[in-house]
């Protein structure tokens, strides 16, 4: 199949709209659409890794997360709709997490893993998401993660995939209605 890059370009002119936002600083907004999960067991089934760990440090980086089509997908128009991959760097907060317990997946206790979340402050520009960066330094979480070759892992979504652990008790982030009591511990 032809491997021409797919780039659909639009100019949207919203006539009659008022400019009601008066940004005081340079900001870029990321609005991501994530899968939602009906239960803790569903999110566990979807995760590559489920760990309990401590966020030991965080830094903001620009990452290119575009994946080149793999051999098996290069001719699949669903997986490779645009032909050649086009780099689109994005700003992430990359956390280093020290693993205390492994609930699912292949990683060792006491290993470190990088977990990325969209957004952060970089070179004077604030990259914002509606959820914000949910993982905080020196805090402990049970995390449901997706892993990638050559790129830090991600939470399955920013609402349902991180559960703070404090004094041994698991809680849910604000807005997450899944019962934290269903989160498995080891």
């Amino acid at each position: 199949m032809p491997r021409t890059a797919l780039l659909i370009a639009l100019v949207v002119a919203l006539s009659g709209c008022s400019a009601s936002t008066g940004a005081a600083q340079q900001e870029v907004f990321y609005n991501a659409a994530y899968p939602a999960y009906a239960s803790v067991s569903d999110i566990g089934a979807a995760a590559d890794l489920v760990i309990e760990g401590t966020v030991t440090s965080s830094e903001v980086r620009e990452l290119d997360i575009v994946m080149a089509p793999s051999d098996g997908s290069s001719e699949d128009p669903k997986l490779n709709p645009g032909g050649e991959a086009q780099a689109l760097p994005m700003v992430y907060t990359v956390h280093t997490v020290r693993v205390a317990n492994v609930i699912k997946g292949k990683i060792s206790t006491n290993a470190s893993i990088e977990v990325k979340e969209l957004g952060g402050l970089l070179k004077g520009t604030l990259y914002r998401t509606s959820e914000g960066v949910v993982l905080k330094d020196q805090k402990v979480y049970v995390m449901y993660l997706k892993t990638y070759d050559g790129s830090p892992a991600t939470l399955l979504n920013p609402l349902q995939a991180a559960y703070p652990v404090e004094n041994g008790k698991v809680s849910a982030l604000p807005g997450n209605t899944l019962p934290p009591g269903d989160v498995p511990r080891r």
């Binding site: 639009l10 900001e27 609005n31 994530y34 575009v66 709709p81 645009g82 991959a85 991600t154 399955l156």
Partner: protein
């Protein structure tokens, strides 16, 4: 009004990304003609979800694209309502591919 341009302020990309989202709307600038944006559709996660949850690939892509266009009209994710809306995260996105009356009302309230 939507038109084609060779040098647009808005661009749409469909490729594979190393993140869990299905779609991403990135924008900067005020809500007028100075705004620039990109819409990115994650072929990897969309194809995997369609395989897991069913529905047609076309409906999955349509639902997520319409959701991202909702952001273009200043709608936010997960509005606090029990009403059906294209802006809510859900398990099977393919079952709702068009804006609902809630979404239309929301846009009219903004503009």
């Amino acid at each position: 009004m939507i038109t084609k341009s060779s040098s647009p302020k808005g661009k749409i990309y469909a490729q594979q990304y190393a993140d869990g989202w299905y779609g991403l709307y990135v924008y900067s600038g005020a809500r007028d003609s100075s705004r620039t944006f990109t819409i990115q559709l994650n072929a990897r996660t969309i194809a995997a979800a369609q395989k897991s949850y069913g529905g047609t690939f076309k409906n999955w892509v349509t639902a997520i694209f319409v959701h991202e266009l909702g952001h273009g009209l200043s709608l936010k994710d997960n509005p606090s309502t029990s009403s059906s809306t294209i802006m809510k995260y859900r398990t099977n996105w393919s079952t709702l591919t068009k804006p609902t009356s809630y979404d239309t009302t929301d846009v009219n309230n903004i503009y």
